[in-house]
């Protein structure tokens, strides 16, 4: 449970790959898929979703492909996941669902909603750029999580 779908994984990998190859004008879905050994057609659909969400710019035709629409530092992991898997909620019933109004049961939801926001905040603080800096050099992400642990 609580795991990313493979699609979201692939999406993050693809964006990271694009961030690592800024010199090329555009990379095709097949290029990226081959680099990681993932199904090309599946990745293609994912990249289409990311394009529709405005995270990528696409270009059809020969030598076409995809490129980041913003700087890698300006794209958060949260945006990627959200674009692919849709809005996520830890609570199984979102506000407005009937199942919870009938039974005044879910007093649990309030604290969990706060957890949800916390997780979203963490994901928003991590950029594609952070993913490319696989080594320790005190990126945003690492500092943040260290601080979090100190405060808990």
């Amino acid at each position: 449970m609580l795991k990313l779908t493979k699609k979201a994984d692939y999406g993050l990998m693809a964006l990271k790959y694009l961030a690592e190859h800024p010199e090329t004008a555009a990379l095709s879905a097949k290029d990226i898929a081959d680099a990681y050994g993932i199904p090309a057609q599946l990745l293609a659909k994912i990249l289409q979703q990311l394009t529709k969400a405005g995270l990528l710019r696409s270009h059809a035709g020969m030598n076409g492909g995809y490129a980041l629409s913003r700087e890698a530092r300006e794209i958060s992991a949260y945006e990627v996941i959200h674009a692919i898997d849709g809005p996520f909620f830890i609570t199984s019933c979102t506000k407005g669902s009937k199942s919870c109004e009938l039974t005044p049961s879910c007093t649990i939801k309030e604290p969990l909603a706060r957890v949800n926001e916390t997780i979203a905040g963490v994901l928003k603080s991590i950029s594609i750029q952070d993913l490319t800096e696989q080594e320790h050099p005190a990126g945003h992400a690492q500092e943040a999580s260290r601080l979090i642990f100190l405060t808990l």
Copy 2:
């Protein structure tokens, strides 16, 4: 995506209910299920899992049922979720899986593993007791998440 299973939800609700009724020696699965309007047989299985995990104490026979095996403050949401849904990982391939060793693809995993730990840390910091204090009175959880947002 990234949502708790209903089972985990039910488990948290049940523990919260038990924490709110410390005077009674034991509550049956049916009692709790009726209180929240959830399927009794399903809840029963969940409570059994929590018992096996050591979070609850069970007592068979008439007037039997379940009771917390520790103080509500000493039981974390993480333990409950872990007991019901098993260990969770954000990354789709855990360490040791073959699919990732073949392709040296997953340089993404390291940062995501850190996110995973962060989330686990947040869940560990929330106790059943915190769930019962639905109002604001500056419980652990709230303070923690406020600090997190400041640091990010």
